[in-house]
Each structure stands twice: as C-alpha cells, then as structure tokens.
C-alpha cells in the first residue's frame, strides 16, 4: 500500500482535479492506452492457447477486482468470493437460456443479481470484524454451494446449466478470438469504474473505514452502510466475472466454485497488491500463468535425462504441485507488498537512473 510519488521536481498540483487524476503523468496515461490498443491486436498474433489464458486472466481479474474493493479498499475479508463468482455464472446462464435475455444484457443483470445476494451476505459484516467476519463469509460459501446443487430450476442440479453464446447485433462471439474483445471491454470498464470509485466520496469512505473504522465513524461515515455496500460491490464484480466465464464456456457446472477457488482469489490480490487496481490484474495473471509455467517445465522434464536419473515418473506431477505452493510462499516472503509495489520500484529505478540517491 506504500505508494511513492514519482512526480518530477517542480510539478506542483494547483487544483483538486489534478490531485485526483487517474494517471499521474501524461506518459503513464499514454502507456495505458497503448497497452489496451496492443491487447486489441493480440488475437492477430497470439495463438488460441494464449488468447484463452488472457480470457481466463480477464474474467478472474474482474472478479478479483471486486474482492480488492472489499479487502484492499474497505479492509474487510471474504473467503466466499468463488461462490459469488459461481452465482454470477449460474445467474447469467439462467437469465440467458431460461428467460431468453440476450447475453449482452444477461451479464450486467447477473452482476446486479449477484450484488443483491452479496448485500444479503454482507449484512453480518455490519456487525462482525476480522476472523468472525471470515467465518461468516465461509458460511456464504457453503450456503451458496448447497443452493447450487439443490436449486435444479436455477442451476440444473447435477446436469450442468448451459449459457447462450454472446451475441451483438446478430453477430455471435463464438470463438476465443472474438470473445476476447468482450472480456477485454469488461476488464477495461471495470478497471475504470473501480479506479473512479476510489476517487469518489464513497471510495474515500471505504478507505477511511479500512484505515481506522472508529475514526471513520466519528467523522460521520455510516459504517453499516459502507461495509454492506462494499460487499455488494465485491459481489457485483464477482458476478460479472462469473457471467463472463459462463458465456465463454457456455456450460456452467457446480464444480470449481469451492473454497479452494476462493482462496485463489485471495491469493491473486495478495500477490498482486492489496488495494491496487493494476496489482489485481498482475496477481491474477500470476496465479493463472504459474500453473501453466510449471506445466511447461514439467513437460520438458518428463523423459529428460534428469527424469531418467532420478526416476521421477509420475511424481513430476506432485513436484509440480509442490513447486506451485513453494513459489507462492517464497513470493510472499520476498515480495510482501505484492507485484504492484515491485512494479513501482522498477519504474522508480529507471526514472532515477543512474542517480538513484
């Protein structure tokens, strides 16, 4: 959360508007725009495998962004985020197939539905803090999972629910390359919305609660309202992420929304940087790419000289799982402030190079 100002000497802010600008410098704004443009071109030069990974980073990233509002900006905790992600996926599948709403509208509707559910489960947050709140959100996780397997009208029960493909003006976004743009649009939109939220009155209230809830209350901030609202917003983004996933896979099954996925969401924002929008995306990318990278390494290792010498055979799979865990632990030990912090340091290094002192 430590942020170092990188403003060049002599660049004073003379207005409040300048003080709350999203991009501190013109270059950083241009870089961000260039980055988005570059991503728009990605489907033309990346293989489908990479596109699918980017899509994964996209829909998990949107959901993780929601969790970051809750954890990073409001200082609450949730270990039930995956269930909201799942609820969004099922809602969108339900709204699009059962009610016949086009996927274009089904995604935001699913977000709103999930937000309402999030508000309900956020009610305990008005009274609970810390570990107690963690357990309350754990309950949300299990209640929702149980709901998924029982509410056959909604989820299909043991038969997976199907979701309509994304269509716009009669044009179907069926392939990964096409769907990539849908996800990209949502990622950009979500990032802009969250960044702006933090600059708003409500966003400042969140941060105030995080920094010291008692002081915040004494300053007239309605704790109950903002804590619950934070849950609702977190669930909203989880729902959007889930809906994006639903229309990507076009099949939603009860599997994969368990507690382990919730923990992975937490890992994403902790590794990326708690309370940082860009860090969220970085952390998501890290958590999506790490197992893949380990798979590349283990695929190379399989049948190699090292494998023959140490006769790993099937144990490579276990080594890979251990390595994934180990990398995460080492990462947290040496990068406790997350990727966003490291990124700022790298930027600072080059900005000040070669006179860093």
């Amino acid at each position: 959360m430590a942020s170092t100002s990188l403003l060049p000497a002599g660049d004073f802010r003379t207005t409040y508007a300048a003080d709350t600008t999203i991009f501190p410098t013109v270059t950083s704004r241009n870089c961000a725009i260039a980055g988005v443009v570059l991503l728009c071109l990605a489907p033309y030069f990346l293989s489908q495998y990479w596109i699918s990974l980017l899509i994964q980073i996209g829909y998990f990233g949107v959901a993780a962004l929601g969790l970051n509002i809750l954890v990073g900006f409001t200082g609450q905790i949730s270990i039930g985020h995956a269930a909201f992600f799942g609820f969004g996926a099922f809602s969108s599948a339900y709204v699009s197939t059962q009610l016949g709403v086009p996927a274009f509208f089904a995604i935001p509707i699913a977000g709103v539905m999930t937000a309402l559910v999030g508000l309900i489960f956020g009610l305990p947050a008005a009274r609970l803090k810390g570990l107690y709140l963690a357990i309350a959100t754990l309950a949300a996780q299990y209640i929702l999972l149980d709901f998924f397997s029982r509410a056959e009208w909604f989820t299909g029960g043991s038969i997976p629910a199907s979701a309509e493909p994304f269509r716009l003006f009669g044009y179907t976004f069926n392939t990964d390359r096409q769907y990539f743009y849908v996800v990209l649009a949502y990622v950009v939109l979500s990032c802009l919305l969250v960044t702006n939220l933090i600059r708003s009155r409500d966003g400042r209230a969140f941060v105030a609660i995080r920094d010291h809830y008692l002081s915040a209350e004494m300053m007239g901030i309605n704790l109950t309202k903002y804590r619950t609202l934070s849950f609702g917003l977190a669930a909203f983004y989880a729902g959007i992420g889930g809906a994006l996933y639903a229309h990507y896979a076009q099949v939603v099954s009860n599997e994969g929304f368990g507690i382990e996925r919730s923990i992975v969401f937490l890992a994403m924002i902790i590794i990326g940087g708690v309370g940082s929008v860009m860090g969220t995306l970085m952390g998501t990318a890290f958590m999506v790419l790490l197992p893949e990278a380990m798979e590349w390494i283990s695929a190379d290792l399989r049948g190699s000289v090292i494998d023959d010498m140490l006769s790993f055979n099937n144990n490579i799979a276990f080594l890979r799982e251990i390595a994934i865990g180990l990398v995460i632990v080492l990462f947290l030990m040496f990068e406790p402030d997350g990727l966003a912090h490291r990124w700022r340091q790298i930027k600072a290094y080059w900005k000040l190079y070669p006179f860093s002192h």
Partner: protein, 425 residues
C-alpha cells in the same frame, strides 16, 4: 533473383510434400487429461496408466500410431480448459481427446461440440449419453463418449438385483433403499433415476443421507442408516470417503447391503477398508477383472507389461477399464484413417461402425459396446460383482489377490432394456 524465388518455391513444395508424407505415415497426437495429483488421483492413476499402456500395446499391433500427450491437470477446471485450448488452438488440432472427470468433461462439453472433437471421458454421467438432445432431459452432447454403463444405468442394474436379492432371501415387507453421498454433481447424477426405479421395484425410498467427499467420521450417518432400518444403500462418492462410511457402519453394526458406484469401489479400496468392505456389490465395466479367465486375458497381461516388464503387478478394475477405453478410441481412429482421414468428425463416425463392438484382441475382456448416432449408451448389460474380504489386508495387494484374501465374485448380470425415456437421464 528469379532463380532464388524458384528455389524457394521448390524447397517449400518439397517441405510441404515431406509434411504430407509424414502425415501419411499415420501418426496422430491425442490429448489425455489425467488426474495424478488432484482430488481423484486414487482412481486417476490406475485409469491413466491403463490408457497409456492400452494405447502403446495397440500401436504395436499396427494401424495409426497414436501418441498420447498426457497432462496431469490436477482436477482443476481452468487448467483443463487452458490445456484443451493448447491442444486444439495451435497449428494442429487434435482429432480426439481422452478426458477424465466430471469437472473437465462438463467444462469442455460446449467446446468439443463446437470444435467437433470426440471426447472420451471417465465421467459416466447419463447427461452425456444423448447426442441429439431429443430426450429433452439434457442438452445435446454429440461428441461425448465413454466406455461404461452410465451412473444411472449402473444404479438401475444394482437396484434390479437388490429387488431380486430381497425376494430370494424371502424377507418380509418392503425393502428400504437410501441414496448416500455428498451434495455434489457426481454423487447426485444418478439420484433421481435410482429413486424412481426403486419406487417402481417396490422399495421404500428413505430420505438421502449426506456425507462429504473426503474421509471423515461418519458414525452419525451410519446410526441414521441403522435407526431407519435401511436395507440397501447406494454409496455415491469416490473410494476415500466410501471407505470411511463402510468402516463406521461396521463399527456401529448397521446391517445394510451397500451398493458401490463404479468409482467408489475397487481392489485398493477393499484393501484399505479391510473386512468392512466385505459384501459390497458394485458394477464392473469390463467382462473380467485383471487375472480373470477369457480369450483376451493374455493380451491384457501383455498390455500391463508396457509399464511393468516383470508382469507381477496386479491391476485394479480401473486400469482394465482404461485399457478398453484406449482401445475403442484407437480403433475409431484407425477407421477414420481408412475412411477419409483422421479428423474429429471421422473419428466420431468410427464409433458408430460396429454393433456389440469388442476391440480386437480383447475378446472376453472388454464388454461388447454399441454407440449409435442417436444413443451414446454403450452398454446396458451390466455385470455386478461382490467384494469378498477374508482376513487381514495388511499384505501388498498382489499377494492379497493371489491368496484370495480379496476376491471379486460375480453376483449377477442385469440386462436393462434400452428404454428411450432413460436416455440422458
């Protein structure tokens, strides 16, 4: 300059011809999703090894050489999806995939139908058996295949047997049936189908009893069984938690005939559960267990030598099922190669070519299976076996099998009618 261009064109042409020539040498890559490290690794390891050994053996016998690209995805949906994209999105598109569990199969159903890639899973949910969606019970799954009775059909067969068993024992009154398992898609898949046929067969259906997918203390569940007087109980979970239930119920003294599901019982589970597993009835996907007597039994031993040159290893039921699964896939690919080339669509057609199909060399090992364009239920003739455990199960498994401490005993063969209303359910 022109000469250079010509040279380039010629070399390109040679390269292309060379590539085409290589294609004619008939080597295809097929993806294999395996779970060696995730939640279902206990059964994923023998099944995966069965696929690998079966394919290696079949490759030696000729036809198209099928190279398996085995990837352990740890039973994680996002990894399965990413791996699938890797297999299908690059320059080469794999003509078929050997998949694994409920999680990956369901997540990929939509993609494989769109990309037209036959996907042979080890998830036997009845929802995957309706290729056209005509049954109206589930959405069409035209590219999903599996070699086994569906979970629902296996339970129907076990209940049909249970009704006979009850009669033959001459017990009075209605038998009581209870469905046990976690509230999860996998144990729930055959629940309605089972309870429906149980009622038809004259069972009293008790409220389902829940237990988690992980081992734990299930004394409470067993006391429920005992107090409600259940006579037949379906164990819907995978082996680990089923073992815990069997042990707890043995301690409590519940007198129940357990019906195991296809992934819920095997030789390793019997060894782990010890005498608590004695008497459990479960469906066998193959005509014989490993070491049984059949024309193809020696070939099965040859298959096993691929990963165990000594030939001493004992292979659990999942291994043999894996071998059969691989061989069906291989023969479908061979058919496709002779009939227009190995593409997903042709491999799919390859599955429809034979009635009561047994892979060559596996007579009496793999059960005759039939897939048609409107019905992907390969077998409705279901063999039920009973686990017999006599004595301590501390010794290694091959020894226990050899000296008969753990035995698979055939109980019955149930012929279910191919009812259209059971398709996809």
């Amino acid at each position: 300059m022109r000469g250079m261009m010509l040279l380039r064109d010629v070399s390109l042409a040679v390269l292309v011809c060379g590539l085409a020539g290589a294609a004619q040498a008939e080597t295809v890559q097929v993806g294999q999703l395996a779970d060696y490290s995730g939640g279902t690794a206990d059964v994923g390891v023998p099944f995966g090894q069965g696929l690998i050994d079966g394919m290696a053996w079949a490759n030696k016998r000729g036809g198209v050489t099928v190279e398996l690209d085995t990837v352990d995805y740890g039973y994680k949906v996002p990894r399965a999806v990413a791996q699938y994209k890797k297999w299908t999105g690059g320059d080469t598109k794999m003509p078929a995939i050997l998949g694994w569990g409920t999680a990956d199969t369901e997540a990929l159903t939509g993609f494989i139908a769109r990309d037209k890639i036959p996907y042979m899973s080890a998830s036997y949910s009845a929802a995957l058996t309706d290729p056209t969606g005509k049954s109206g019970k589930t959405k069409p799954a035209p590219y999903n295949f599996f070699y086994a009775p569906s979970y629902s059909d296996a339970l129907r067969a076990m209940l049909t047997w249970a009704a006979q068993d009850w009669k033959s024992k001459g017990k009075p009154g209605k038998p009581k049936f209870v469905h046990m398992g976690a509230n999860h898609p996998y144990p729930n898949a055959p629940k309605e189908a089972g309870e429906a046929i149980a009622k038809e067969l004259g069972f009293e259906v008790l409220p389902p009893v829940q237990f988690a997918l992980t081992p734990g203390d299930y004394t409470a569940q067993c006391l429920t069984l005992k107090n409600t007087g259940a006579n037949y109980a379906y164990l819907g979970n995978t082996a680990g938690s089923n073992i815990a239930v069997l042990k707890a119920c043995k301690n409590v003294g519940a007198d129940v005939q357990f019906l195991g599901n296809v992934w819920g019982m095997d030789e390793n589970a019997a060894k782990a559960a010890g005498d608590a597993a004695d008497g459990v009835v479960f469906p066998l996907r193959t005509a014989i267990p490993y070491g049984g007597d059949a024309p193809g039994a020696n070939n099965l031993k040859d298959v096993s030598k691929n990963s165990d040159p000594t030939g001493n290893a004992y292979r659990p039921v999942h291994y043999v099922a894996g071998v059969c699964t691989a061989l069906y896939m291989k023969e479908a690919i061979d058919w496709a190669a002779k009939n227009g080339g190995v593409t997903g669509e042709n491999v799919k057609k390859g599955f429809y070519q034979k009635k009561d199909w047994v892979p060559a060399g596996m007579e009496g090992v793999c059960k005759p299976s039939t897939w048609t364009e409107t019905d992907h239920r390969p077998m409705l003739n279901i063999d039920l076996y009973r686990i017999r455990v006599s004595g301590s199960t501390d010794a290694p498994l091959p020894e226990l099998i050899k000296n008969g401490t753990i035995k698979l005993e055939k109980v019955a063969t149930i012929d279910l009618p191919r009812k259209p209303e059971w398709l996809g359910w």
